[in-house]
């Protein structure tokens, strides 16, 4: 039984990796290429959610600025693709990405130069956000800024980047952002079905690694110190720990994960724009984690996929209702389900509910879980 439980996530992963693309290919059960692509995006958002969980769920620091790192990752990969692709759609007369023409830019801004190289760009996807996260984090944590002040300052930093990217047409194409659909990667057009399936699979391959990294960070005494920082930081200090490097490291890792997330998301959505740095996007990342279950590592993955899937469903059926649903979700999770879905199951919320209704645990669990298949699947994912 226990072995089976451990295998479940891997089975699900394999299912998503092999079966879903095949289903999309043959349009089985109406599961289209488009849906597959959406799921690829949801899974890529799980990376940033893992990062948010590290910094918020474990360390208790609510960052409202993860959008910065997410976007930076996206911009890095998008600019690389735009630079190396040479076709009529993306390349302007001067050999640079087309949008530069609009602003009469003939020389590539210097900081984009390294992005001609594929390895450099791939490394930049997580190194650039990490370095910036390290810098910002060091400045903030050094001064013992925490709690809501940390949240507010990360939000202010987000606004700095947002206004900068929005206002700088000549450097980063302003509001319009960078588009990747018509660029080429590995000899495929990034917007084509083949490339999208590839991205989907890359996302699924990378996800366990991100998970294991987080697992490694959180399971030992390092992870214990993170929880200790959340519970009582001054106390930890009096025990001889300097919390600053711990927090910086976690923030850096979260930033790197956000960068990877942004890059994967960008190639699958075809665009990165300053909208990824809007206030709401960064707060939403937090709610994915809250819904899934903060302080667990499975939770954020469930949350990111589930909430975004819900978003697609609701906004397709009834666009106006999504804000209501989302708002209610925030309130509901915070007030009534602080442990999130995964935490609710693992911390006995589910069994205590069954017990409250006087249903004997064993006999009732199976039909109940069978009935709600999605819950069963999601809660053990990865």
């Amino acid at each position: 039984m226990k072995l089976f439980k451990r295998l479940v996530p891997w089975i699900l992963l394999a299912f998503a990796f092999f079966i879903l693309p095949a289903m999309a290919n043959s349009e089985l059960f109406g599961f289209s290429q488009f849906r597959l692509n959406l799921f690829g995006r949801y899974f890529s958002l799980a990376f940033v959610a893992l990062g948010v969980d590290l910094i918020w769920g474990y360390t208790g620091l609510l960052s409202l600025g993860q959008g910065i790192f997410f976007s930076l990752g996206g911009y890095a990969i998008a600019m690389h693709l735009l630079l190396v692709t040479k076709n009529d759609f993306t390349t302007g007369a001067n050999g640079l990405p087309k949008f530069f023409e609009n602003y009469g830019v003939d020389n590539l801004p210097f900081f984009w130069e390294p992005f001609w190289s594929f390895p450099v760009s791939i490394i930049a996807v997580f190194i650039v956000p990490s370095v910036i996260a390290g810098f910002v984090g060091y400045l903030i944590f050094r001064n013992r800024i925490k709690g809501v002040y940390f949240s507010i300052i990360t939000q202010a930093s987000l606004m700095v980047f947002y206004h900068f990217f929005n206002g700088q047409q000549k450097l980063v194409n302003g509001t319009n952002g960078l588009k990747t659909s018509t660029t080429e990667i590995f000899g495929l057009v990034a917007g084509s079905d083949e490339a999208q399936v590839l991205f989907f699979r890359i996302t699924l391959i990378l996800l366990p690694f991100a998970y294991l990294l987080c697992k490694y960070l959180t399971s030992g005494r390092f992870g214990d110190s993170l929880v200790a920082i959340r519970d009582d930081e001054p106390r930890l200090r009096f025990s001889g720990f300097n919390p600053t490097p711990f927090k910086v490291i976690v923030f850096v890792v979260a930033g790197g994960l956000a960068g990877i997330s942004g890059a994967l998301y960008t190639v699958q959505s075809g665009i990165v724009s300053p909208q990824f740095m809007s206030i709401s996007m960064s707060i939403e990342m937090v709610i994915w984690v809250a819904v899934g279950g903060r302080g667990t590592l499975v939770g954020p993955i469930i949350g990111a996929v589930l909430v975004n899937y819900l978003r697609s469903l609701v906004s397709e059926a009834l666009p106006e209702a999504w804000l209501f649903v989302q708002g209610a979700l925030f309130v509901f999770v915070v007030v009534l389900m602080p442990d999130g879905i995964y935490g609710w199951f693992t911390k006995g919320g589910f069994t205590s509910m069954l017990a409250a209704f006087g249903i004997a645990k064993k006999t009732a669990t199976y039909p109940k879980l069978d009935f709600d298949e999605s819950v069963q699947e999601e809660s053990f994912k990865v």
Binding site: F34, F89, Y103, N166, N176, G177, K179, E316, A321
Partner: protein
């Protein structure tokens, strides 16, 4: 939009829970009912939530109206068979990536024959690569900055030579004597105002004038005090102001202009994004007396225009107004229908796109025609905002003006043109 919320929501959940793609929206009723031989599915993609919902919902309404009119009068006729138009409406949520995502959904999942959508240039720029990558088909209804010519997009709004350029000429003709050939440019901080202003600056230069100031406000920002200070410094006794602000900032601008004594009597203000709807939102007492350049005004008064206005009011209530973007959105549905009928197919997108060129139509604004550069010829008009929320038309171009996509004032694009009927790889931008 509050109608039958639970039904649609529940239907939505039920449908998607088993992984079935849905067509649960708006008019996507069961296909081929009634007297029709079949149906054609089209996509409508505008922001129904978020900042841009204010403007874009009106486009959705007018597109629905055009579709309804076409269906009521027998639908689309191909090879003597009549087809009903059904549509899937998606929400762009004022978020550019969402526009790209939803475009993909409409093309891949809903398999629509064409998409009508967008408002901001940023949303169009976000969608463009999707349509190019999938070699699909988009209609875009808003006046924009030009400097673009995609094989996969048809543009039914004005390009600068059909709006901004004649407006600048007109301003100089009427006010240069009094205030000199000096202009001050105010715009929202995104691609349309910036590109439009680049063109205007070149034009002003070639007319022997100077641009004394240029300012951009982030979208949605309502603090314009610093700009007022600068204008007052440049134009202590009045001068020409050209306004390309979008949305909320306009309200702030005009309210604060009035408070600071920048009134139309001393400061002729020409706006490119203020139509009838915006007058109502800003308040006629603030914009009254300022000018706007459009291809269509609700007060036009021709029979075609009156029919259009009445149909809209009939459908959506007598407190509503029509405007240029709406007229443009209305036209594009008819243009597409005509092209499908001419091509004899709606599935072969290449054939429909080829057939599109040369289609003529008697639009509410007057005659229009689709040019080989995927833009349409339009009549240019300049109006003055009045207290009743309408415009008084002061000038018009008499005949439709042919669209020029690659601007001839801007050095980088001077001498370039676009013609998709040419069989050459650089048809989108070739040297004349």
């Amino acid at each position: 939009m509050t109608s039958s919320i639970p039904k649609r929501l529940l239907a939505g959940f039920a449908a998607t829970a088993v992984g079935v793609t849905m067509t649960a929206c708006g008019g996507g009723d069961s296909a081929g009912g009634g007297d029709f031989d079949g149906s054609i599915k089209v996509g409508i993609l505008h922001s129904l939530s978020g900042t841009m919902a204010i403007s874009e919902t009106t486009l959705k309404e007018v597109e629905e109206m055009a579709i309804k009119e076409i269906n009521d009068s027998g639908g689309v006729t191909i090879d003597d068979k009549s087809y009903k138009i059904t549509y899937v409406s998606e929400d762009g949520a004022s978020d550019w990536p969402t526009f790209a995502e939803k475009s993909q959904k409409l093309i891949d999942a809903d398999k629509v024959a064409v998409v009508f959508g967008g408002w901001t240039s940023a949303s169009r720029k976000a969608m463009l690569p999707v349509y190019e990558a999938k070699d699909h088909f988009l209609f875009y209804p808003i006046q924009y900055e030009g400097q673009e010519c995609s094989k996969n997009i048809f543009y039914t709004g004005a390009v600068p030579n059909q709006q901004a350029e004649p407006a600048v000429d007109w301003l100089f003709d009427n006010f240069a004597e009094k205030y000199g050939k000096k202009v001050y440019l105010v715009g929202s901080d995104y691609v349309y105002p910036r590109t439009a202003n680049t063109i205007i600056k070149e034009q002003v230069k070639s007319l022997g004038g100077v641009t004394v100031g240029e300012d951009y406000i982030p979208l949605g920002n309502t603090e314009v005090a610093p700009i007022i200070a600068k204008i007052k410094k440049e134009f202590p006794d009045g001068g020409i102001i050209i306004n390309t602000l979008n949305g909320d900032s306009n309200v702030a601008l005009f309210k604060q202009f009035k408070a600071a004594g920048i009134t139309p009597e001393k400061y002729p203000i020409m706006s490119f994004s203020i139509a009838e709807e915006e007058i109502r939102q800003i308040g006629p007492e603030f914009v009254g007396g300022t000018y706007a350049a459009w291809n269509y005004f609700m007060s036009l008064g021709t029979p075609a225009s009156n029919t259009f206005n009445e149909a809209f009011i009939e459908m959506y209530g007598d407190d509503r107004v029509t405007n240029d973007p709406m007229e443009s959105a209305y036209n594009m549905v008819y243009l597409w229908k005509a092209a499908v009928e001419k091509a004899g197919t709606y599935e072969d997108l290449d054939a429909v796109r080829d057939a599109m060129i040369g289609i003529k139509m008697d639009a509410p604004q007057g005659p229009i025609e689709m040019y080989p550069n995927h833009h349409i010829s339009q009549t240019v008009r300049i109006g003055e905002a009045k207290d009743d929320g309408q415009f008084e038309i002061l000038w018009d171009s008499k005949t439709p003006v042919a669209p020029i996509t690659w601007n001839q004032y801007v050095p980088e694009t001077k001498g370039y043109a676009c013609d998709w009927t040419l069989d050459r790889p650089d048809a989108g931008k070739y040297k004349m």
